[in-house]
Symmetry: C2
Subunit: 143 residues, 2 copies
DNA sequence: TTGAATTCCTATTGACTTGCTATGAAAAGA
DNA sequence: TCTTTTCATAGCAAGTCAATAGGAATTCAA
């Protein structure tokens, strides 16, 4: 039970775009170089974030990506929903006993709601701000 | 991001043992028949629960399993820890950028703690009680 | 109009995980 | 000694995941 690397790379990319887009777009190649993530892998992740309307793309030369809205309006849940098809809670393949049913109803559904409450509350802004704090000791980040 | 079927089968088995052990042990074969889970699969899960000191086994003829302690002292987290090696939070394979580090510190660790708070709070008793409620309409469960 | 830079799309691969089965040993009561 | 049970380990087929590959489409610029 863990967060996929796809989701993690997605969040890293979004934070990177958030930090480095100064009135312009950010390219896959730049994200790749800064974050040590394969460009080809990013080329698979970023279009999904675009389809979920989290980022907007500009094609062609001098193209790239920008956020579609302020970072405080992008939640962790938005990213997980965009990149991870397997939702927690829809785990009950096993519908063949009373106990399984009861567990599915009273446990997994509650756990899902509980987790979503968390992922709804965390925004990209929170993560970027936290990063700015920790980067205080390790300078030259915002340059 | 989902609960594994192994964990789900583990919980089902524990609830089954909780309900059907009347001063005696419950066998794999009985659980298998009642819950529609392959006996061989259970033979893989139950020993793990025993190693985690959640159940106690009696070998040989007339053997089987019983809980080691009252159901209200067995938590969902106990079961997950016993059966699922991949803990949420230790997802950050990607330790090669400042952003990844920051996310690992401020996000996944917090999410793990948040989830553990939930899994610590749910006991086997809660699940069994809930089951008794829903079984009120569908009688003959405790017979 | 050509070329370079970039996103976009679809397939594919290799490794790992998962869910489950198989085989047989060990233990213990009858 | 025989039956019933747990215990241990190995194996396997299918699926998932992380990542790669190749090329098409789009846009800007010279």
């Amino acid at each position: 039970m863990r967060i996929s690397s796809k989701v993690e790379c997605g969040i890293i990319s979004l934070v990177d775009i958030c930090i480095y887009s100064n009135n312009s777009v950010v390219t896959v190649i730049n994200i790749s170089a800064r974050q040590n993530i394969s460009a080809k892998y990013l080329e698979q992740i970023l279009p999904q974030l675009r389809q979920a309307d989290i980022i907007r793309s500009v094609k062609g030369s001098h193209g790239g990506y920008v956020l579609t809205r302020p970072a405080e309006k992008i939640t962790l849940r938005d990213v997980i929903d965009a990149l991870d098809s397997t939702v927690l809670g829809e785990c009950s393949i096993r519908e063949d006993s009373q106990i399984a049913d009861a567990i599915s109803e009273c446990l997994w559904s509650k756990m899902t709601a509980y987790l979503q409450n968390f992922t709804d509350s965390v925004t990209l802004r929170d993560i970027a701000d936290k990063l700015a704090d920790t980067a205080a000791d390790q300078p030259m980040y915002y340059i």
